[in-house]
């Protein structure tokens, strides 16, 4: 084991896969000599050269669309979209081309591409640079959706995503890039579709994604003082979703809080809640609570931004509202 930040873990996974498989390449805005807007790809341009770490024009549609074309013809591109908010621009290539091509062609194409996308608020980047839009993509059959929290999970899941023969949306939280954690000396792929229990507990199941895993773990410590033990389940991939692990936890605690940073209405929490409300109904002893951002665009000013995005206290309150 060694310590790495999330950014380092991602970079290491990219390096390993690029060394292992020459079809893998990176493309995006300022990913080359600049090293990426958040420094994630730093050094890769020097190591692999401009052909495999491609700086593109400010043309998100061309980035995703050309990745689709390259993936359909034998390459394994790893395009980056600089901010999640800019996914609005190449949506057609993601949704109508990448996701559907295999199906429309009757299974006669595969589109192995992994789209890396920083999400999230926390740096006063305001409404067009702070969104979490992962929910849109679970609604698009043909895509897989990954949203890790720890450095080790980022590394292991990125490797699996790159090796996956389907288009994968890989969401990274920009405020996690600098967060450290243990990473195995030999990074192994972590299969898509396996949740991870980040903390065992008895009283309430807290299903949290990305940054909210950390906030939930903090909440867990506070709640412990009040004698409430929460189990923190990190789905890690939103599709495929590891219902088994989630459901097992619900069977144990009979109480659920779902936490994500995206706005609440129509967020991924709704889908998870709906699945539980259907299939786990008999095990539930309390309302299913969701903790998520207010349904507003992310505001700029720090006190507003802080207010809009869920924090530890919101999680604690939600848990307490249903704890035995």
């Amino acid at each position: 084991m060694r310590k790495m930040t999330v950014a380092e873990a991602i970079r290491e996974a990219l390096r390993l896969e690029m060394k292992r498989d020459e079809r893998v390449f990176i493309m995006g805005e300022d990913v080359g000599k600049f090293g990426g807007c958040f420094g994630v790809t730093q050094g890769l341009y020097e190591e692999f050269g401009p052909e495999r770490v491609k700086d593109t024009p400010i043309s998100e549609t061309a980035i995703i669309g050309s990745a689709v074309g390259a993936a359909a013809t034998g390459m394994r591109p790893v395009p980056e979209i600089m901010f999640c908010d800019f996914l609005t621009v190449p949506m057609d290539q993601l949704v109508n081309q990448a996701a559907k091509m295999r199906y429309m062609f009757g299974g006669k194409a595969k589109i192995p591409m992994t789209v890396r996308v920083p999400v999230g608020a926390g740096m006063s980047a305001a409404a067009q640079h702070s969104q979490c839009l992962e929910a849109w993509f679970i609604h698009v059959p043909g895509l897989k959706v990954v949203m890790p929290s720890t450095p080790a999970d980022h590394a292991g899941l990125l490797i699996s995503s790159i090796r996956d023969d389907n288009p994968v949306m890989f969401f990274e939280h920009k405020m996690l890039y600098g967060v450290e954690g243990e990473v195995p000396d030999e990074i192994e792929p972590i299969p898509l579709g396996k949740a991870d229990i980040k903390r065992e507990g008895e009283d309430v199941t807290v299903i949290a994604t990305s940054m909210m895993v950390y906030k939930s773990l903090e909440a867990a410590k506070e709640l412990e003082k009040d004698g409430i033990s929460i189990e923190v389940v990190d789905p890690r991939t939103l599709f495929p979703l590891d219902k088994e692990t989630i459901f097992e936890s619900v069977k144990k605690t009979n109480r659920v809080v779902i936490v994500h940073e995206a706005v609440k209405r129509g967020g991924v929490g709704a889908e998870i809640a709906a699945q539980i409300a259907d299939e786990m109904f008999d095990y539930l002893d309390a309302p299913i609570k969701r903790v998520a951002a207010l349904n507003v665009p992310i505001p700029f000013s720090p006190p507003l931004e802080k207010y809009v995005v869920p924090d530890v206290k919101d999680i604690i309150n939600a848990v307490k509202s249903i704890a035995r």
């Binding site: 024009p57 061309a62 669309g65 689709v68 074309g69 390259a70 013809t73 109508n96 199906y103």
Partner: protein, 327 residues
């Protein structure tokens, strides 16, 4: 340019294949045998054939909603195409795609596309891939005049231009995007003028002259294979039928249609061949008959095929996940 007789006959045969295929499709659509939308390529055959006759099996094309012609010209199999139009499991896409999504990736056909302009960046990506893999494949991107106003036109061609990608952008300017005439949807006459915006060559040719198209694309393909980057080629042409089957075509005049029918690419080429004396009328007629038979066989094949089992709907979404898509 001196073209060999077999090349000329190939042009003729392929154009006739498209024409007869499409004529049959129109008929079958009217008879209710083909569900969904059908956009006929009749009148534009010289573009697909002139362009694709420059390509090898492993070269790529991206096609459009009006794709049958491109597919046939690139070597697609009529029977599987027809079966797909019928929605049969024996079709190219097992009935999952239909007219707007027929593909044959093994033949480099990266699909018809229901999204106007969807193909530009995909073609650029195929070109990028060819370049990175060090092959000398090229990609031809077909698109309409209407599509030249889409977002993707701009970004796709710009990308190809800066990376000198082996892509040929072939515009089928049939003067209309559904009901809107070119005059109304853009403020230029020649779409090839847009090449200036990317510092690449742009040419306009008579899209009803298969040889003119062939030669322009030949030059562009050569440039592409030599690493000199993309070319934009505009082929002025016309669709004889409505935008889709069922279109009442209120937006254009009978005279205009008649004018263009006089420039029918197949009739013109047939006449030219006979005038040149390279071929006899009999040779051409026997091609016509062979193609008639092909089309009949394709229809037979399509009719014979079964509709897919409904449960198959859950297959082919992912390479690995199947039953879970029900949840």
């Amino acid at each position: 340019m001196k073209l060999k007789k077999e090349e000329l006959l190939h042009f003729y045969r392929k154009m006739v294949e498209i024409r007869k295929f499409e004529t049959k499709v129109v008929e079958l659509f009217a008879d209710g045998m083909i569900p969904g939308f059908v956009h006929s390529y009749i009148g534009e055959e010289a573009v697909a054939v002139g362009a694709c006759s420059n390509l090898n099996d492993d070269d790529y094309i991206t096609s459009t909603h009006r794709g049958h012609g491109h597919l046939i010209a690139k070597g697609g199999h009529m029977d599987k195409m027809m079966a797909e139009l019928f929605g049969k499991e024996t079709g190219y896409c097992k009935g999952k795609g239909g007219s707007m999504h027929i593909a044959d990736v093994d033949l480099g056909i990266l699909g018809a596309n229901g999204i106007v302009g969807g193909g530009f960046p995909i073609a650029a990506g195929a070109g990028l891939s060819a370049k990175m893999r060090g092959t000398n494949q090229v990609a031809v991107c077909f698109f309409g005049d209407g599509a030249s106003n889409q977002t993707t036109f701009h970004e796709g061609i710009n990308l190809a231009s800066i990376w000198d990608l082996p892509v040929v952008f072939v515009c089928e300017n049939n003067m209309y995007g559904i009901s809107l005439s070119q005059k109304e949807h853009q403020h230029i006459k020649d779409i090839s003028d847009r090449a200036t915006a990317y510092g690449i060559p742009g040419v306009t040719v008579d899209g009803n002259d298969v040889i003119a198209v062939y030669e322009a694309v030949k030059e562009a393909v050569k440039r592409a294979r030599q690493g000199e980057g993309p070319t934009l080629i505009e082929c002025k042409t016309y669709r004889h039928r409505g935008h889709f089957e069922g279109d009442p075509t209120v937006y254009r005049s009978e005279e205009e249609v008649e004018q263009w029918k006089k420039k029918d690419p197949i009739k013109r080429f047939r006449k030219k061949l006979l005038e040149l004396g390279t071929v006899t009328e009999d040779e051409l007629n026997s091609i016509d008959e062979e193609v008639d038979k092909m089309v009949e066989e394709a229809v037979e094949y399509a009719k014979k095929g079964k509709f897919p089992e409904p449960e198959k709907a859950v297959e082919d979404v992912y390479t690995d996940i199947v039953e879970e898509v029900r949840e």
